[in-house]
Structures are given as C-alpha cells and as structure tokens.
Amino acid sequence: MSHTFKTSCECQQYFTDSHDMVRKSLRDFIKKEVLPFIGEWEEAGGFPKEVYRKAADVGILGMGYPEEYGGIPGDIFYSVVVTEELMRSGSGGFVAGLGSLNIAIPPILSMGTPEQKERFVPPVLAGEKIAALAITEPGGGSDVAALQTTAVRDGDHYVINGSKTFITSATVADYITCAVRTGGEGAHGISLIVVEAGSPGYSVSQKLKKTGWWASDTAEIYFDDCRVPVENLLGDENNGFYGIMANFQTERLALSIMANMTAKLAMEEALKYARKRRVFGKTLTGYQVNRHKLVDMATLVEASTEFTYRVAAKIGAGIDQYKEVSMAKNFACSVSDKVTYDAVQIFGGHGYMRENLVERLYRDNRILSIGGGTTEIMKEIISKMIL
C-alpha cells in the first residue's frame, strides 16, 4: 500500500491507486465491523445476517459482477483486493461463509436465462438473500461425475432425491445451486438447478463440527421427493458440468489467495511475537535459527503471492489458466501448511491457545488443500496437461 505506481510497465504491477483506495476502505470496514466480533462469531459457528447487508452496501458482495444485476464491474485485481482484505478478519470461515455466493452465482450467470439471472442474482448481491453451491455428496466429492442425487421430471416440476454434504452456508442459504443427475451415468448426465430453501421435501442438518472455519456454517442437505419448478433448471438438461466448470478458475484462485493470506497473517504474527518474546535472556529474533525461519516464511509467502498474482493477471486477460491456477493453489497451500506450522512453533505453547490468531490460522488452513478440489485432484489436472 505504501508504494504507488504511475505506469504499468514500470515493473510487474497489478494494483492502481483506485485498488489501493478499495483496500483502505475495506480495511477500515473489517476493522470496525468484523474484528471486534469475530471471536464471538467463531465460537457461535456463524455471523449475523445483517453482515451480508453491510458487506453489500460497501460493495464487497457485488465486486466483479455485471452492473445490470447490481454488481460492480472491475478488473480481477479488485476481487483479489476484496479477498485479501476480507482475510484480514483473520477468519477463513468468515470469508468462506460470506463468499459462498462466489461459487453459487457464476453458474447461474453462465447458464441461466435473463429471467433466472434477474430473479436470483440481484437479491444476493444486495445481501438480502444468501446463496450456496451444493455438489459434494456423502458418497464422494472429488469424483463429481459420479454424483447420485437424482432429479426426475414430473410435469412442470423436478422431483429431487438424495443428499449433499459439507455445504458452506447450508443452514442460512435461500438459494442453492445444486448439481443433480437428470440423465445417465457420468458427467453428461448432470444438471444444475436452483433449489429454494423451504421447498417441499427440503431439509438441512445441524451445523457440522469442524477443525476450522468455525465462523462459516457447514451442513448436510436432504432432498426427500423435493419438488422444484422446472423453470429453476439452469441451461439444458444434462449440461450442468459446464456450469460447474464456470467456477473452476475463480474458486481456485480465491483459495490460492486465501492460502497466501493465511500464511501472510501467520508470518506477520510470528514476526511481531519473535521481536518481543524473550528466551534465555534474548528475544527470539536474537537467535539465527529463528531469524532464518522467519526469512524462509517471508520468502515463501512472497513467491507464492507473486505467482498467484501472475495467474490472476492472465485469467483477467482471458487466457485459460486451468493448469497454472491448479499449480498456484497447490503451491500456496503447501506454503500456508509450512508457514502456519512454523508460526505456531515460534509462539510455543501460546501458539496452541485460542487467544492467539496463529492458532486459528493453523486450523483454518487445513481445509484449503481439500476444498475446491483436493491437492491430488489438482495434480491429476496438471498431469493431464503436461504429460
């Protein structure tokens, strides 16, 4: 934030004064509207619905979406700034919960009719309704093409049977962008349909208890002869996989940024602590072993962040980055694995205590290499592209 660039070719430069202004404004918002309460929300396993409205008012929810649906268009680095500054809440769960629209809405925009977009998107970007995406099932998440929840046409309704699990925002969501089987086996038998919470035959479990991401609710959804109007089907029957793919790059990019920020916050905390904590008569930074550890942490964070930015820039320029964004996610997650571990180590026993941010970062970090496609699935994608 301290250095502003006047030309774009001065060096690899992604953020302008205007991005910096957004950054400052969001930092202020997080400081006043989130940080004072985040501990409470973490323990409560969720945050008040009014936070969606406030986030919408400052433009967090609409960032990057078309103006005609209440969004705020902007280049991809505005979205990068939004994710980075939301992560300054120190709670990946808060970011995932508030951000579940960012996996639920893109399929609607890419496949929906103008009427569907007009119906589902503006209320979500305004913070009046909450959207979630439901793909994963108890029987499997990585193998999306094998999903088993069925939707059978009955007059002007689909009748859905099956269940979804690990669904972010499930207990609070109004609209669920849901993957269902309408055809034969495999990826080409899958459709996407928007299920409205409260539809007949729709129910949600208790919040699942998790290692981290406490401020976001995660739950199971059950469909028991759940009736959904056919006009909620997105695109043509059995074409749902294309809608699922609409998320691939942006979701993985967002998770890369979350991993980088998790690592960055852990490193910043460790630096502050190492400067003041005294052991055997010296501060932790008085020992070369700790200085070098901090240097390694900083180096990894820097390298991973720069790589992620580069991938973001190319996605923003419309260049396919399926391989690179998978690499960025894996690399960023390996960095945050190491950096959060080392940060807790530098804190010693204090790093294991709830009152210290590094403890939460360490727990929140674990999901990042599982959600949005596991490390192994990323490697499968990369290997198909390089071998």
């Binding site: 302008t16 008012d57 400052v58 433009g59 609409g62």
Partner: protein, 263 residues
C-alpha cells in the same frame, strides 16, 4: 445548498507510529500511510447528509500536492460531487494564515452557502476555520456537533462546550462552521463510488489562477514558524495506592473528590 468542505491529507495516526526525525525538524515521513483528516471526514459526511435532505452540491477542496488528490477522490467516492486541488510551489511553507488565504481565494471563485472545515487536523493547530471566516467576513461557529437547516437563510447549530455541555445557536448563511467528530457516523467509502470517481478529472488551481501573490502565501509570508519538534520528557508516572482494599478505596475517593472527579 452549495457546500464547500475544506479537507486535508494527514498521516494516519491509526496506521502509523509517529516518530520525530533525527534533526527534530519534522516527523519521520518515510513509509507513512496517509489518509483524510478525521474531522474533515465528519464534515464531508455532514455536507452529504445536508445535500441529501435539501438538495444542492458538495465540493471538497484541499491545499496540497499531487498526492493529496487521493483524499479528494476518497471524499468524492463517499458522495461529494466535485473536488478542487489547490496546488502551487508558491503555497509551500504556508502557515495557518497562508492556508486560510489560499482557501479564501478558492471560496471566492465559487458561490457557496456553507463552508465547512474540520475542527482541527491531526497535524494542525485548529486555526484555519476561524481565520477563513474572518477573512471572508462571514459568521462562524466552532466545534459544531449538530446542524439543522432551518430555511435557506439560517441554520441551527449545536456546539460542544467545556465539561460536555451543549449550546444551540442560530447562524445566518452564508457562514463557516468547523465540525467536531461525533456529529454523525461517517459512511464507509463504497467500492462502487471508488470505481465511479477513478478516472474523474480533478481541476487544479495555482497561485495565479487564484490571484494570490507571494507576499500573501508560502514560506515567505509565514509569520508563524515551527522551531522544534520533540517528544516531551516523561513526567511522574502513576501513583500506586497502598494498603488494604478498604484503605485504597478510601484514598481513591479522597483523590477523586480533590481532583473534581466526584462532587
């Protein structure tokens, strides 16, 4: 109502540790994060709220350099309609009176009903508002924490006075008011607003545009000069009360009475 709000770019005291530089002539300015002076931000919010109620426009003006544009843009993203940057090498080194003289010239180029300043700046001396009013020969109220538009001729303004007391005044327009924090709850700068003003041209006026000579502004005209910047010697620390809890409480009550904390 046409409203002009004078704003200033200052080091953000919530983001920086402010330190005096080694030769004591200034604060350490490397790597400082700057933002709009907090009081000025309340003034802009108040101006926007008045505009929303009775119509008109809000213009923000600052005396500064190219970097100060960021502050104007921020306030425009919040809802001010126009920004004006007053920039000239000749303005450098102005004292409070010089700044007021520059602002006076800018006020006279426009046609404003109401001119607001912050009550003070983080790095200032709380003098510009009053001087500006005097130079413009306009009525003035300081430390304003309430404004109600009575009609297009008068305002009702509340002022904070010593000891948390409040007074209410009627003031004729046009006038100058210096705004106290807490008068309202300034809104966040929304991303939509930031995007909207990102490429808006902000007009710049220099000394000749404003008809200002070197004798009126800048270091040459400054009659108040800063001699030194320093951190004062630490005084006596806290007083520790000794004895049993009852004794401590009794001593505390005595102290509070003696110092006027309880009556």
């Amino acid at each position: 109502m046409e409203i002009l709000v004078c704003v200033k770019r200052v080091p953000d005291t919530s983001e920086n540790e402010i330190e005096v530089n080694s030769d004591g002539t200034d604060i350490e300015r490397d790597d400082l994060v700057y933002s709009v002076n907090e009081w000025d931000n309340y003034a802009v919010e108040e101006a926007i709220q008045i505009k929303d109620k009775v119509g008109g426009s809000v213009t923000v003006v600052t005396v500064g350099d190219e970097e100060s544009e960021e502050v104007l843009r921020r306030e425009m993203a919040m809802g001010a309609d126009n920004g004006i940057l007053l920039e000239d090498d000749a303005f450098e080194g102005s004292d409070g009176k010089g700044i007021a003289a520059i602002l006076k010239a800018a006020v006279e180029k426009g046609n404003y009903d109401l001119i607001l300043t912050g009550a003070q700046a983080d790095d200032g001396a709380a003098q510009v508002g009053g001087m500006l009013a005097a130079m413009l020969d306009l009525p003035y109220a300081s430390l304003v924490n309430f404004i109600d538009v009575s009609d297009d001729k008068k305002l009702k303004v509340g002022r904070e006075i010593e000891g948390g007391n409040q007074e209410m005044n009627e003031i004729e327009l046009p006038c100058v008011l210096s705004i106290q924090t807490g008068i309202n709850e300034p809104r966040y700068v929304g991303i939509r607003g930031i995007r909207k003003v990102a490429s808006v041209e902000i007009p710049t006026h220099g000394a000749s545009d404003l008809g200002l000579g070197a004798d009126a502004v800048g270091a040459g005209a400054a009659k108040v000069k800063r001699l030194d910047y320093f951190v004062p010697e630490l005084g006596e620390g806290a007083e520790m009360l000794e004895g049993s809890t009852e004794e401590k409480v009794a001593k505390l009550i005595e102290l509070l009475k003696a110092k006027g904390g309880i009556k």
